[in-house]
């Protein structure tokens, strides 16, 4: 297995100052991760925990007030290594869309309302490939046909399409140049269930066709269960647990992950759905120690003051909780 993107000790804060009030929102706080070529990597967590922020940094598409305070992000394309935090204009033209692409959150508004769909495709294609109008139309037409989208959308304006169709068109627009690495932010949110299923199917298809890597962000554990190979669970700007999907679903170790899983509706069981008490903390003033401690039913004294390290429970499974750490230490010493 080869790593395609690697982040180390990433810290990205929103730093704003207005009328004498300075705010620092620690939206991504000390995150390290490695994503492998060809996998579907899920990033889960409640709203506001920093998922989109992490994504922006991984994409190298961040602007003030979002500032990367510390850490590195590197793309590994074959033998080439590219620093994602300092992309030049030339880099951007070279890698965006043809190698790294992005399906945005709330893609309802990402299509220019006064441009026909085929013209948007033309703009995006010709930025990265030297093709004429006719050729670009040909590429688009063929790709849409492959994905089973009607050709009639080409002449349409965005507002004439349904929400689901717009989302599919956006997915097509993002992947038209066969990128190796695709980031998708909440691609199914705000769609109704039937449409959701179609979009998930489409994503799966797009990913499997060329064995692309898909980094999938959603708070919906159901979608993760459907698509992801591996899942990282984010809480208040930190990774609290990371493992393969099966482990996360069947054998989560972190109390927060356990809650997330318990709050899922199950088809087979009559087990009650537990929702997590309390609300996620505001990230401009996060709790000390373990950021989950105000909501954690298992919290011990230490949790209030000491931030637990993200340790490897067993190969491929990491968690950040004092209880887990103690257990692991116990198991190795015993």
């Amino acid at each position: 297995m080869t790593t395609i993107i690697e982040a180390k000790n990433l810290k990205a804060y929103y730093i704003t100052q207005a009328y004498g009030v300075e705010r620092t929102v620690q939206a991504v706080d000390n995150i390290s991760l490695e994503i492998q070529e060809g996998e579907v990597f899920g990033i889960a967590g409640e709203s506001g925990c920093g998922k989109s922020t992490l994504l922006k940094v991984l994409l190298g598409a961040f602007e003030p007030p979002l500032t990367v305070v510390d850490g590195t992000v590197e793309y590994h394309f074959d033998s080439e290594r590219i620093n994602a935090l300092a992309l030049t204009d030339q880099n951007l033209r070279d890698i965006r869309w043809s190698k790294v692409s992005y399906i945005p959150q709330g893609s309802m508004h990402v299509l220019n309302p006064v441009r026909r769909i085929r013209d948007s495709f033309y703009d995006f294609i010709t930025t990265h490939q030297q093709v004429g109008r006719r050729e670009s139309l040909e590429i688009t037409r063929k790709y849409l046909a492959d994905l089973g989208l009607p050709e009639s959308v080409l002449a349409a304006y965005p507002h004439q399409l349904s929400g689901g169709m717009r989302q599919r068109v956006t997915i097509a627009l993002a992947t038209i140049l066969w990128p190796k690495l695709i980031f998708a932010d909440e691609p199914t949110t705000a769609l109704d269930v039937v449409v959701q299923r179609g979009v998930i199917q489409l994503l799966k298809e797009v990913q499997q066709r060329e064995g692309s890597t898909l980094v999938l962000i959603t708070h919906d554990m159901g979608v993760h269960a459907n698509l992801a190979d591996r899942i990282a669970v984010l809480y208040a700007g930190k990774i609290v647990e990371e493992a393969d999907t099966r482990t996360i679903l069947k054998n989560p170790r972190h109390p927060y992950t356990q809650y997330l899983i318990k709050s899922l509706p199950h088809l087979d069981e009559r087990a009650e759905r537990v929702s997590i008490p309390g609300r996620p903390p505001a990230l401009d003033n996060p709790p000390t120690g373990c950021r989950f401690h105000p909501r954690c039913p298992l919290a011990i004294d230490k949790c209030r003051t000491i931030d637990p390290d993200l340790i490897t429970v067993r190969p491929g499974h990491r968690a950040a909780c004092h209880l887990v750490t103690e257990e692991v230490i116990h198991a190795t010493t015993a």
Partner: protein, 332 residues
């Protein structure tokens, strides 16, 4: 069909409503005022000559008839509407018996020429500069432009007119002091250049403020567009800045801008009244000024009506042409 029913009809109704309200107000104002314009006119007419009492009565009857002030209030109102619809505003008080239409008509080409070109020029300038400044807010030139124009913007155009007049016809007499043109009208270079030279300062006095206004509006619109999802997305895909600026940012600000251009064009009859007065420019503004001086309220009324119809019609045209500029209205 739905376009007609849901879109065109309501706009037409709105247009009729504006005209109705405007004409009614214009009708009411002189009639509600404590001063009787006929007494005023009679006062002026009889001040210089002795007129028999019967003569005064006869004169009064004639005037009342001419100005539509005879009969009951309601009759007057109907008669007023008839005049408006016929486009016949009666004779002028001061330049009796020249019809009001003729007086206003003489000023129209000047005003349309001066104001029309000033409005269009400042629109183009403001939109171009404003879009650029909104899309590149952190560049030095953009910030300098912004600061300068924000201070220039609130300066009233007539003040600028005075300043320009003082500076360039008096201290540095490089421009003619007053008037519209010299020589006999004709399509020869002498006459045209004279028109251009005479209109230069008045035009500048209007263009400066109007450009500042357009710049501020355009910049605000452009920076909203710049933070919109579709612009961010296109930038993320590294679509060239030129293309983003043109097809994504500016193209999306066009709708309100074109609306506003048409409204400004509709408003030219009230637009730069004092500019014309300051530079003694022979347009509608000067006609209005002269009629104010001579209390020629029929002419004033005519110009008021003209500007009401002008702006109402402009906004109707704007509304009806929306579908041309916005696909969201065109294909519903």
């Amino acid at each position: 069909m739905t376009l007609l029913k849901e879109f065109i009809l309501p706009r037409l109704l709105q247009w009729a409503m504006v005209i109705f309200v405007g004409v009614t107000i214009t009708f009411l104002i002189p009639r509600l005022s404590p001063v009787n314009p006929i007494d005023q006119a009679l006062g002026r007419l009889t001040a210089f000559q002795n007129v028999e009492p019967e003569g005064v009565l006869a004169l009064r009857a004639t005037l009342e008839d001419l100005y539509g002030l005879g009969g009951s209030f309601f009759d007057q109102y109907i008669a007023f509407w008839q005049r408006v619809i016929r486009g016949d505003l009666g004779p002028s008080f001061s330049a009796f018996p020249r019809p009001v239409n003729e007086l206003i008509g003489a000023g129209l080409p000047w005003t349309i020429g001066l104001l029309g070109s000033a409005v269009v020029l400042s629109w183009v300038l403001g939109v171009v500069l404003g879009s650029l400044a909104g899309y590149f807010p952190h560049r030095l030139w953009s910030q300098v432009l912004d600061k300068v124009l924000i201070v220039v913007y609130p300066i009233p155009y007539y003040i600028l007119a005075f300043v320009l007049l003082m500076a360039f016809t008096y201290y540095l007499p490089i421009f003619p002091l007053v008037g519209g043109a010299k020589g006999t009208p004709g399509l020869n270079w002498d006459y045209i250049s004279s028109v251009l030279i005479h209109s230069f300062l008045p035009a500048v006095s209007i263009i400066v403020g109007a450009t500042a206004f357009r710049f501020i509006m355009s910049k605000a619109l452009a920076s909203t567009e710049t933070s919109s999802d579709y612009v961010t997305y296109a930038e993320m895909a590294a679509v060239p800045k030129r293309k983003v600026l043109f097809f994504y940012v500016t193209r999306n600000t066009m709708l309100p801008q074109i609306t506003d251009l048409a409204l400004s064009l509709g408003a030219i009859f009230e637009g730069a009244l004092i500019t014309e007065v300051v530079f003694a420019y022979p347009g509608v503004g000067s006609v209005l000024y002269n009629s104010i001086i001579s209390a020629d309220y029929n002419v004033i009324m005519g110009i008021t009506l003209l500007s009401i119809v002008g702006i109402a019609t402009a906004s109707l045209i704007v509304d009806l042409s929306y579908p041309l500029f916005d696909p969201r209205v065109r294909f519903r």
